[in-house]
């Protein structure tokens, strides 16, 4: 059985449609669907809050650890260009989002900046789903991609907040809000995990792998049930928003994702790595960014930025985006 598990996908690896179907039928994606379903039929599948918090801490630390070990293995020279590209896109993507939103929606600069902060940052879960997907497709991924995730997480938020400009909450300087994010759980655990991974290396990691490695996909599945519930609760808000916002939430990720794939290829990443880079650019944050925006831009309406990021873009990337960016990568890079 396990044999099959590892051979079959690799067979379909060239056939992206097959991969897309495999992805659709993977436990994490089906878990997300279960969460949506539960909301649809008026049921409740929410994890206890403490468990939800604990699982998200586990995911952040685990992905950091894995990335740190891989980073240690990989040649820093190879990382320089992709890192610079990540920084550049971390600034350009929120700018593009801000302008795109002016074109397709009636939202004020405050809400546009708030949404831009989300698309400028990245989604950890989308990223990890992509890794699981590529892992099944047996495509190699550069060890330093988690570093790119860490690099992409913050700048986009800062740019978004700056774009929102005058809308700031007078009470607290937004630099303070930024500080609160930088020392917040998600950044600390991700960066801390990276550091621990680099320091402990494969030898040390081998001893925690049964916990932080082997369980990962399973925990992710459980976590996605919860995210499905949260996303499902957001969907009703879309109606109010007109056609502009949903359109943006689907079209923009494709454009940003393509840009990411190209940038990845141009900076020397392989097919797998460039696809993941695309996913990073296409995904919208719904953990770090909402917290930062809520603190710095309380007047911005979460009904807009949460609904687009979590309600539309996240499921779109999970189901369509990830295989799509790989297909693009196979065209452009492969």
């Amino acid at each position: 059985m396990l044999q099959i598990a590892h051979i079959m996908p690799s067979m379909g690896a060239t056939d992206t449609l097959q991969l897309a179907i495999d992805n659709l039928l993977s436990p994490p994606v089906l878990g997300f669907a279960l969460g949506l379903l539960a909301v649809a039929i008026g049921g409740d599948l929410r994890l206890p809050d403490a468990v939800y918090q604990g699982l998200s801490m586990y995911l952040l630390l685990a992905i950091g650890l894995k990335g740190g070990v891989a980073l240690r293995e990989s040649d820093i020279g190879d990382l320089v260009l992709p890192a610079l590209a990540a920084l550049a896109l971390g600034v350009l993507i929120p700018l593009a989002a801000y302008l795109a939103l002016r074109a397709v929606t009636r939202l004020g600069s405050l809400d546009r900046g708030a949404i831009a902060a989300h698309y400028g940052s990245t989604s950890l879960v989308t990223f990890t789903a992509a890794l699981v997907f590529l892992d099944a497709s047996q495509l190699a991924v550069e060890g330093y991609v988690v570093t790119l995730l860490a690099i992409l997480e913050i700048p986009g938020i800062v740019v978004g907040l700056l774009l929102a400009g005058r809308g700031m909450n007078r009470g607290v300087p937004w630099s303070e809000s930024l500080r609160e994010i930088l020392v917040g759980k998600s950044v600390l655990l991700l960066a801390g995990g990276l550091l621990i991974g680099v320091l402990t290396g494969p030898v040390g990691y081998a001893r925690v792998e049964p916990f932080f490695g082997a369980l990962f996909v399973g925990v992710l599945t459980l976590f996605l049930v919860e995210l499905g519930v949260l996303a499902g609760r957001r969907l009703p808000d879309i109606r109010g928003a007109g056609w502009g916002l949903p359109a943006f939430a689907i079209v923009f990720p494709i454009l940003a994702g393509t840009a990411g794939v190209i940038a990845g290829g141009a900076t020397g990443m392989g097919v797998g790595g460039a696809a993941v880079f695309g996913v990073l650019c296409a995904s919208a944050s719904y953990i770090a960014a909402p917290a930062a925006v809520r603190l710095a831009l309380p007047e911005a309406n979460p009904g807009y930025y949460l609904t687009t990021a979590l309600g539309i873009t996240f499921p779109f990337n999970l189901v369509v985006g990830i295989p799509l960016y790989l297909a693009i990568s196979q065209e452009v890079v492969g």
Partner: protein, 105 residues
Amino acid sequence: MSEPHAHRGAVALVTIVAEAIVEQRLVRDLRDAGAHGWTVTTARGEGPRNRRVGDLEGGNVRIETLVSHATADAIMAKLAADWFPHYAVVAWVADVEVAREDRYL
């Protein structure tokens, strides 16, 4: 909270319900307003506004603080000025009796 209060105990219990994400800031404001202590419980809830990101940030916190009525007024004033306009915050004040009133004044 502006109008004067007749025949009330010396200590007021201020209860604030707010989205969890602002707990640290709220506590800071309470301390600045003169509160010497507070008790926090995690909560969830619904309200007419419902604009918080609580779903993703662990719902609400419910903060209670025993303070002098003067401090209670200061807290409510601070909330009215900086918090109600922006955040999902609800607050109420009750008269209570305590032992060792001085601890809270």
